[in-house]
């Protein structure tokens, strides 16, 4: 559960009238001056300052990501390096054609994303718009909606089990489905469990989206709203035609955050039913290869590579756009 670093264009662009030209000219010039003033020792310090964190990050994140790719083309039981054998595309072939869990997992990851973008995201936006009206107790309401975001997804899983448990859960107790023979198995039934988990996931996601949109709304120029009111637009028209278009940078962030959350989804499912029938996810399949009995490293890596490819397809264009904007500013 991580936020996405981004840059909204209006933040990156200096406010009008602050003399953007001189500022950028200066920023471009001064560092050069810095560089000339650096002693050898300074250069060494700088090298270490950037080098050490980079080595740690690259070694643990990128080298292992590359190792995942390499291992995906091998079989390895993990005992000794000499048991590593190159098998080409075998792992992928087996994954795509012969693994009954793979395609359901892909499908569930997609459903996860679609559900998050269709329900909690608009809900978060709606709540943000209401809370942005400078009403009293706004902070109290915000806190209530935001509380789940602060909690561990594992804890959220346990809390929602109290609601879904077939015997003792709130829902079945309320509707009288907690008698043997009448059970509705929210956690075990493959037709229900994914949706049950998605409600818990949405519960958390809406608060997160609300905070992102509230921050976005704070950046909206109040004069826009006034102008729109003067033109006689009602609240919905103002939102649709004036406010929402200015939230574009926030929408981009929200989209990327949601895709990444959908790809990362794991904790809730693991706590609920360990990704058993009905709730398979790519992340669960990878993890089961490590903590399950079977240690098929090459095969597990192949699933990780699928996850990596999908992630990079989102991350790379997004970062390119973000950094290009930043450079222009």
């Amino acid at each position: 559960m991580t936020t996405t670093p981004t840059e909204s264009p209006e933040a990156a662009t200096p406010p009008p009238g602050s003399g953007p030209v001189t500022k950028t000219a200066q920023a471009a010039k001064v560092p050069q001056g810095h560089r000339r003033l650096l002693t050898r020792r300074d250069r060494l310090t700088l090298g270490l300052m950037a080098g050490l964190p980079t080595i740690l990050h690259v070694a643990l994140v990128w080298v292992t990501a590359l190792a995942s790719i390499a291992l995906a083309f091998t079989t390895w039981d993990g005992i000794g390096f000499d048991s590593i054998k190159w098998v080409g595309l075998e792992n992928f072939k087996e994954l795509f054609t012969n693994n009954p869990q793979f395609w359901p997992a892909v499908q569930h990851n997609i459903i996860w994303f679609v559900a998050l973008i269709l329900i909690p995201t608009p809900l978060g936006l709606f709540l943000a718009v209401q809370l942005d009206k400078q009403i009293r107790f706004s902070r109290v309401y915000q806190t209530a909606f935001f509380l789940p975001v602060v909690m561990s997804l594992a804890v959220i899983g346990f809390v929602w089990q109290l609601i879904y448990n077939p015997d003792t859960g709130l829902i079945n107790s309320l509707i009288g489905a907690n008698e043997p023979g009448h059970y509705i198995d929210w956690i075990g039934d493959p037709d229900l469990n994914l949706w049950a988990i998605l409600i818990a996931a949405s519960w958390r996601h809406a608060g997160y989206m609300m905070i992102l949109y509230l921050a976005g709304l704070k950046g909206v120029d109040p004069s826009l709203r006034e102008a729109s009111a003067l033109d006689g637009a009602n609240e919905w028209q103002t939102f649709k035609n004036v406010i929402f278009p200015t939230l574009r940078p926030t929408n981009t962030v929200v989209l990327v955050v949601t895709i990444i959350e959908a790809l990362r989804a794991f904790d809730l499912v693991f706590v609920f039913n360990k990704g058993a029938e009905g709730t398979e996810l790519l992340s669960i399949l990878v993890t089961n290869n490590i903590i399950g009995e079977s240690s098929r490293i090459g095969y597990g890596s192949a699933i990780a590579v699928v996850l990596l490819v999908i992630s990079l397809a989102v991350i790379i264009p997004y970062l390119i756009a973000t950094f290009r904007k930043e450079r222009q500013a």
């Binding site: 981004t6 840059e7 990050h57 292992t64 009403i135 594992a154 990362r264 990780a304």
Partner: protein, 301 residues
Amino acid sequence: MSTIVDTTAATAAPKERTPVRPARILLHVFLAGAALAWLAPLLWALYAAMRPYGETSEKGYVSWPDKLSLDNFTNAFTQSDMTHYFVNTLIIAVPAVLLTLFLSSMVAFYVSRFDFRVNIFLLLVFTAGNLLPQQVIITPLYRLYLLIDIPGITMSGKLYDSALGLVLIHVAFQSGFCAFVLSNYMRSLPHELTEAALVDGASVWRLYWQIVLPLCRPAMAALATLLSIWIYNDFFWALVLISTGENMPITSALNNLSGQYFTDPNLVAAGALLTAIPTLIVYFALQRQFVSGLTLGANKG
């Protein structure tokens, strides 16, 4: 989500520019109701946790309580040795937060104050790394942690199953986000500040430690709050990289507790709520920091 329909009607009402009172009241009614509904799962957990198992198994969960008590909380706390797991989490989270801030602020300083060619590339590497799903790297990482022998430093003699191993991966992973946020923040500081000091012969380290870093205090506070909560809440890394129950941080220990006590949901509810308490305290105490940290990345703060 029928609620959406309810309130668009309520909020779209005032066509006049001066807000009409009834609309405001309706909005409050809606928000208060929605907020209460939002808290319902937590309140339900609290209610369940405050009732003894015997009573609920006899009368059912949806029933009037004979007596509410904190017994389940004390039981969960003592029977599962929660103090021990809280300490484990502390041993992981405190160094991880401090090291992440320290290392990422150095990278941020480097890329934001000096105009080297690799800057953008370096920042891209860090930021992209932070966006990857953890499972992409876990298989080789797990093997790597089993391979690296560090006798004497950790109980297991390896990075695997050690607090050190968890600290390292948290730092490596989270520094991507922090480097990005801090570099944006540092770029907004006037260049004259450091330039003047450099002309006066101050070393680069001094610029970083005595001039730039103190100015970054607001951003660092926001990130520290965010990191504490994220690292505290981590479930996945500990699940895979820690094998001994003894070494587990609180969130994964809770997973064991629930396995052990699955017949007593009330006790599990108490354990889950106890686990959530530290994050709730941090959040209530440092709400502003947390929220600004979260949006620092999304909208430059």
